[in-house]
């Protein structure tokens, strides 16, 4: 434990000798989920984007199986619009922990003519097909995702073990009830289970845990100077993916990212938070949810996430 731990609630709660801090309770629950999957499934995989939630997932997986290696590979669904800092982080992490990495490439699908670029240049909705085909071809039967129930309304009813049919589709009415901590991972051949170890975590929990554990993140999560332009009320990074368009003015601003996704639809926020502690203070005072602030794709319609989940999105 470091000094940070005391500041951010990582220490043992003082009111009972046998109580746990909320971070310890969430950590223990997530580790239990990882071990259940490792114990019951043949071929799990962990979705790894280089975003903070997937980084925290990997950290938990490393702790769950230490001193042994993580008994499953990573899968990156690569939109082709990556922040270079995030790709570098991914490769560094894979090498450091001696992990195996699978990549499902949206660009390949576009090059082969299977997927078409959208007029708005956004590639997040295009991830579903490469992801589901990779799950089928590699016969993954459990897929860890970093989804959190606090992110969005459609996720609030997601199970920890979420059964998907052979088309990866999610049917809210077919989901199994989950009682106590008894997870049911039974599935038919061709079906798989999406597993969400961070279901009960919030954005603030994730940041507090990052601080407590001293987890390294890609630099773009912290305030830095960047050339950005304004679209749909969000600061987007200029780049080959299609921005800026005519009339959109590029300027240099001090920003950071609250989420990391496809460059074309992940917005930066004005921020001078250049340390984990400052980020936590900023989030605690924030008046916008992270998806509300930074994700154009969720603004497409009120039920945008519900629709994408049904189709097999994360």
């Amino acid at each position: 434990m470091t000094t940070v731990a005391e500041v951010t609630g990582g220490g043992r709660a003082a009111n009972s000798p046998y109580s746990l801090s909320h971070l310890d309770a969430l950590e223990s629950e997530a580790v239990h989920i990882f071990r259940e999957v490792a114990g019951e499934f043949e071929n799990p995989v962990l979705l790894f984007s280089g975003g903070k939630d997937s980084i925290v997932m990997l950290h938990l997986a490393l702790k769950a199986f230490a001193p042994a290696a993580v008994p499953f590979p990573l899968l990156h669904v690569d939109t082709g619009h990556n922040f270079p800092e995030v790709l570098a982080y991914r490769d560094r992490t894979v090498a450091r922990h001696n992990l195996r990495l699978h990549i499902a490439s949206v660009q390949d699908y576009i090059d082969r003519g299977v997927l078409k670029e959208r007029p708005d240049g956004t590639r997040n909705p295009l991830q579903t097909l490469p992801l589901t085909e990779k799950i089928r071809s590699e016969r993954f039967d459990a897929v860890f995702g970093g989804g959190r129930r606090d992110e969005e309304k459609a996720r609030a009813k997601e199970r920890v073990f979420s059964l998907r049919d052979e088309f990866s589709q999610w049917d809210p009415r077919r989901q199994r009830p989950e009682l106590w901590n008894l997870y049911n991972g039974r599935h038919a051949p061709g079906e798989h289970v999406r597993v969400f170890p961070l279901s009960n975590w919030t954005e603030l929990d994730v940041w507090q845990y990052i601080a407590r554990e001293g987890i390294e993140l890609p630099e773009i999560y912290f305030a830095h100077e960047r050339e950005v332009f304004l679209r749909n009320g969000m600061w987007l990074t200029a780049g080959d993916w299609g921005g800026p368009k005519e009339g959109e003015r590029v300027e240099k601003r001090l920003v950071r990212y609250r989420t990391v996704g496809d460059m074309s639809c992940t917005g930066a926020v004005d921020s001078d938070a250049d340390t984990v502690e400052k980020v936590i203070a900023e989030i605690a005072a924030s008046r916008l949810t992270e998806r509300g602030a930074t994700r154009a794709d969720d603004k497409l319609s009120e039920a945008a996430m519900e629709d994408r989940k049904r189709e097999g999105y994360f």
Partner: protein
């Protein structure tokens, strides 16, 4: 839903709680009020609610919309499932299992209550304790939820009268005591106007107790673990087999109940082999003692054959193993549970084949009447069952241990979760039931 709070950090402990009540009781408004008044609703969420309320021609934001989830529900104006909400105050982090109160959704209330340390049961002050209230109380009692809050809502519609509240609180508390519920806290509220939800009421000065949120912040979440049976279901065997750790063999699991110490004499079930704990690894840190619900890796002195599904217990406090399980169950699936049904039973980390030998009775939650030998249980039925397992199970009584006294039944053909089970007697007190075959009024 998001959770950030503008108050000072940190939140220390975690409280999981559930709500039960129908739309008419104002449950969604209560939950919306808790989120809104604890400043857990952020500007973009509130703006979405304002837009939606205006679109429906409502003047003020309808806080109930904060908790509406899926489009299918919004279109039909119903809540179809358990939704989880997250919020925090400087004192505590909360996980709320928000369950709908319709008759046909008993299974959702059971699901929400299974992990809850506290249940908020809502009643409409104008109607008092009704059948549905009794059903909610019975579920809290069956699931052994340690703390129950009775929120008497819509006090503004009964003139904020103390006598109305006192009568409802007295009737409910008597019923809850009969069910064996150890603790009831009754609070008069108006969710619509915010009285006694987060802020104390300005109009009910006769009430001197805590608001709903104050109570949630201060109710004790951990009990005296020293007197609990210690149980560690083995999830996974960790064997690095590396140059650095050639002989490491650790048994990983989440402590389901009680405490374990290095040096404890332990027995591994079902084999019955005995050894001592030589080390406890708490996610990378060696410790002398660990307790529920910590995830740990335990090292044993002797090289026993231990695998996933085994249960590590103190030798002096081992549960009996049995192949004949008697339990109270809630049936969850649309296909019925019948006598002779072949199922899989998951208990802890162990899944075994089993057969339903008998269904001695079905319980009507409204009046706790028993209906003998129903032959089958359909979705949302509560009943007693006798199950024969293919292998011995080290099951505790649910009254002693919620984690190691519970199980689920799984359909081996399609993998569906059929039934949730609790080993042993249904209620804490001697069963206050009247035995009757009269099916009148049974409406599940």
């Amino acid at each position: 839903m998001s959770t950030t709070t503008t108050e000072e950090l940190p939140a220390t402990t975690l409280l999981r709680f559930a709500t039960a009540g129908s739309v008419d009781d104002g449950k969604s408004t209560l939950v919306g009020r808790l989120l809104h008044d604890s400043k857990s609703v952020l500007a973009d969420q509130l703006e979405a609610v304002r837009r939606a309320s205006a679109g429906r021609g409502q003047d003020s934001p309808d806080l109930a919309l904060l908790t509406d989830g899926l489009r299918a529900e919004r279109e039909q104006g119903i809540t179809i499932d358990v939704a989880y909400r997250y919020f925090a105050t400087p004192r505590r982090r909360f996980i709320l299992a928000d369950t709908p109160g319709h008759v046909q959704y008993t299974r959702n209330m059971v699901t929400g209550a299974s992990t809850a340390e506290l249940t908020v049961i809502l009643v409409d002050a104008r109607n008092g304790v009704v059948e549905q209230t009794r059903r909610h109380a019975a579920i809290a009692a069956l699931l052994r939820v340690p703390h129950v809050v009775l929120a008497v809502n819509k006090m503004d519609l009964v003139g904020h009268r103390e006598s109305v509240f006192a009568a409802i609180a007295e009737e409910f508390t008597a019923y809850a005591t009969e069910l064996g519920i150890p603790e009831v806290t009754a609070i008069p509220i108006s969710a619509l106007h915010g009285d006694n939800v987060v802020e104390p009421s300005a109009t009910m000065d006769w009430y001197g107790g805590p608001t709903v949120l104050e109570h949630l912040e201060t109710v004790p979440v951990s009990h005296d673990l020293a007197h609990c049976h210690a149980r560690l279901p083995v999830q996974y065997v960790i064997r690095p087999q590396t140059a650095e750790h050639p002989d490491y063999r650790g048994y990983a699991g989440q402590i389901a109940a009680g405490t374990f110490r290095v040096g404890d004499e332990v027995t591994v079930l079902p084999s019955g082999r005995t050894t001592r704990i030589s080390g406890i690894d708490l996610l990378g840190r060696p410790v002398d003692v660990a307790w529920t619900p910590q995830s740990v890796t335990v090292l044993l002195e002797d090289d026993l054959d231990v695998s996933r599904g085994d249960l590590i217990v103190p030798s002096k406090d081992a549960p009996a193993t049995t192949q004949d399980v008697e339990a109270t169950v809630c049936h969850l699936a649309d296909q019925p549970l019948t006598v002779g049904h072949r199922v899989l039973l998951k208990h802890g980390t162990r899944t075994v084949k089993a057969i339903v030998k008998d269904i001695p009775s079905r319980l009507t939650l409204d009046d706790l009447s028993l209906h003998p030998h129903p032959g089958r249980l359909v979705a949302n039925d509560i009943g007693r069952v006798k199950i024969r397992t293919a292998e011995p199970l080290p099951a505790d009584s649910y009254a002693d241990s919620r984690r190691t006294g519970s199980f689920i039944l799984i359909d081996p053909s399609d993998g569906a979760t059929l039934t949730a089970g609790m080993v042993g007697e249904s209620f804490a007190s001697p069963e206050p039931v009247k035995d009757t075959a009269d099916d009148d009024g049974w409406d599940f």
